[in-house]
Amino acid sequence: MELKVNGRLYRVDVDPRTPLLWVLREHLKLTGTKFGCLKAICGSCTVLVDGEPVRSCSVQVGNVVGKSITTIEGIPENHPIKRAWKEVGVPQCGYCQSGQIVRAYALLSRNPRPTREEIVRAMNGNLCRCGTYPRIVRAVMRASEMMG
């Protein structure tokens, strides 16, 4: 089957029921996408499908054929969300950060001026054991300003 990831077309030969996560990570070697629970609880594996955030561990690859998939690698380095993330100094271990950044990117594309409450509501499904939460809120607000 053919997959469109970060604007590129890839050919993959897998069972259509395979979780998108494994296809991205292990077949296409786009390892920026991580996993923490494999059960749609933690958000580490978040990617965008046609602009909507989804948990790639719980989406079958067969269902996203023909759609446009964006992973952390597909968000430009100079995008305000990534710049704000660095300016605020969000990451600690970094493991959850791809999922966080992708989720925040999706939020800002839909709502460029989110309130604190809206940020928390959107991001609450993404776990971070290192406790970078306060800085995530700050970085999303900062990115929103930069996009202003």
């Binding site: 897998v14 069972d15 395979t18 979780p19 494994w22 990570r25 292990e26 077949h27 070697k29 786009l30 390892t31 920026g32 996408t33 991580k34 923490g36 629970c37 494999l38 059960k39 609880i41 933690c42 580490s44 992973t71 952390i72 690698e73 380095e77 990534k82 993330w85 660095k86 100094g89 969000v90 990451p91 600690q92 271990c93 970094g94 493991y95 959850c96 950060q97 791809s98 950044i101 928390v120 509501r121 991001m123 609450n124 499904g125 993404n126 776990l127 971070c128 054991r129 290192c130 406790g131 970078t132 939460y133 306060p134 800085r135 995530i136 809120v137």
Partner: protein
Amino acid sequence: MMTRREFFKLGGLSLLIVATSKGFDVVKANDLKRHSPRLWINLSEDNYLTVLVNKSEMGQGVYTGIAQLVAEELDFPWDRVKVMPAPAGKAYIDPYMGSQLTGGSTSIRHMFDIMRSAGAVMREMLIEAASRLWKVPKSRLKAELGYVIDTKTGKKVPYGKLAGLAMKLPVPLYPKLKDPEEFRYIGRSLPRIDLDDKVSGEARFGLDHFFENQLYAVVERPPFGGRIVSYDPSETRKVKGVTHVFRVGKGVAVCGESPEAVLEGRKKLKVKYSKTSVGSTEDLKEHYIQLLQKRGLIARKDGDPKGVYEKFPKRIELTYLLPYLYHACMEPMACTVKIDRDGCTIYAPTQSQTSVLRHARRITGLPESRIKVITTYLGGGFGRKSNSEFVAEALKIAKKTGRPVKLFYTREDDVQSGWFRPMCAVKLRGSVDNRGNPNSLYFKIAVPAVFEWAIGKERRGVDSAAVSGVANTFYEIPNIHVEFVKSKVKIPVWFWRSVGHTHNAYVMETFLDQLAHLGGKDPVDLRLELLGMHMRAQGVIEKVAEASGWHRGPREGQALGIAYHHSFGTHVAQVAEVSLIDGRVKVHRVVCAVDLGPLVVNPDLVVQQMESGIIMGLSAFLYEGVRFRNGFAVNNNFDTYPILRMGEVPEIEVHIVRSEGEMGGIGEPGLPPIAPAVANALFRITGKPITELPYYGL
């Protein structure tokens, strides 16, 4: 790991650090009799500094901190500094530990002088080189931000251009370190050096390397204290892509061509388990409480705690019960290994390169020189990743299958692998005199011996983790009894961020508030009185009291709680602003003061570690505890073992207090005070002490 060839290709000026009986020496690469790739820092001819860091980056910022130390003394532009994980090997041990290990909040403390000296040596050699090149006295030269400058003529040359010449010069024996007033980086919040990697998605963790012909593997595990009696692999083997099913360690490995294949195959595995002595959560609670009846080992005895306790009518006795805690690194255990004719290569998110090497030597039979360990970024460590059992499993699988292996734990596997913060029961008794001053304290803890599990054999004596923070408490209470009873429950325990301090700070700090209440004392005042001799402890308590508005009192509908604890050389006090609405705890704000001595390498990283410790500690207080049935952990994913989410995170305000005295650590000390601070606030609301955790029930 750098090969010999790559090492010589680097060129420029390369320095090594050699552990000696007196500490360490800095030497030039070519001063060693046998050239070997043991480089620590390199200055390339195109003027880049590469620092090999012998400590693991697990979020605490150690790559940044260590690089800052070298760049400081070398006086080098920060944007030209690179870091690499040091290989595993004797050449890279922490001389103060005698092993290559990241733990105990020690990295910066141990490497502070070493890495600064290496930078200073390099700087002096470059100045010497310039002095010879230009034939001018050294006194006229200065080294600044990557250039050696002739202060008379203004002529300047980039360090890199001098590197080749410097490499021919002797290493100065006593390099002069900068005075603190001269610091340009130490004390500054430079941005983390791993930011780009971690924001771009390029950062590589345990499962992010690929080998040709690699296999994937997962391991099915037995109950704690039990074993796998038999297994039927027939259905598993039918799954497309599954290649091998066999026993490894205590478990059964399922290997195959893709992660989806091995997960599918494992679901079909039929396994029979033996009976186990580890029962359910209720059995464990009873076990620990019962154990308090037994006579233990005395860790400390001052005066006559029993007599005093009995004599004074104002006294209190409480029994605490605290659960097993799971580390919950966001990255479950995972590594990628290869064994072939040339040797063995291991990509592992490990806190203990020494133990990885030990396993690798034993399993492969190869000499250390043919074992390459590449420390990846760690997706959280918290102590858990100093246990290298997962690497041993991967190596055994690679050996047996003859193929490179990516071993990964699912979340459920990660929990069932164990190595938790131990459960414990603690009995406390204390009394206060007529003026309300605590005059006796009795502390008896029933808990497994973490250090025994860590070294893998029985030990006599008091386990130091079991009584840490209590046997050596700074509180001056005249009559003290500290006793340890060892539990031998077969649930593996390990170091969990701040180790014994996690339970002991909770018990001590909440009990102290009980004594304050009994004696009619303000909790802040009482602490200050009991810490009469300890200025640093008083300093952080005074700071949080002031910054939180302690003496003004709480806002309407809220209560304030304070806790203080000293661990890993650092003093931390925290005040929590808390309210309780319909049985739900809301922590509005936490004010934290931390004293880690006179020098702080990177203040923002200190703040980050305080935030991190507070959030993890609050998470444990409210929610965390592993439950068991028939020896299996039953709450084994984030739906049943919740950790704190963004919505419950308080506002956090951190104050760094400077003081004279020794430098302390930073990765762990922020965690212990938060749970008791919140519990003490809740006590003010409800009047009931909280003696069982987690707050929302196990």
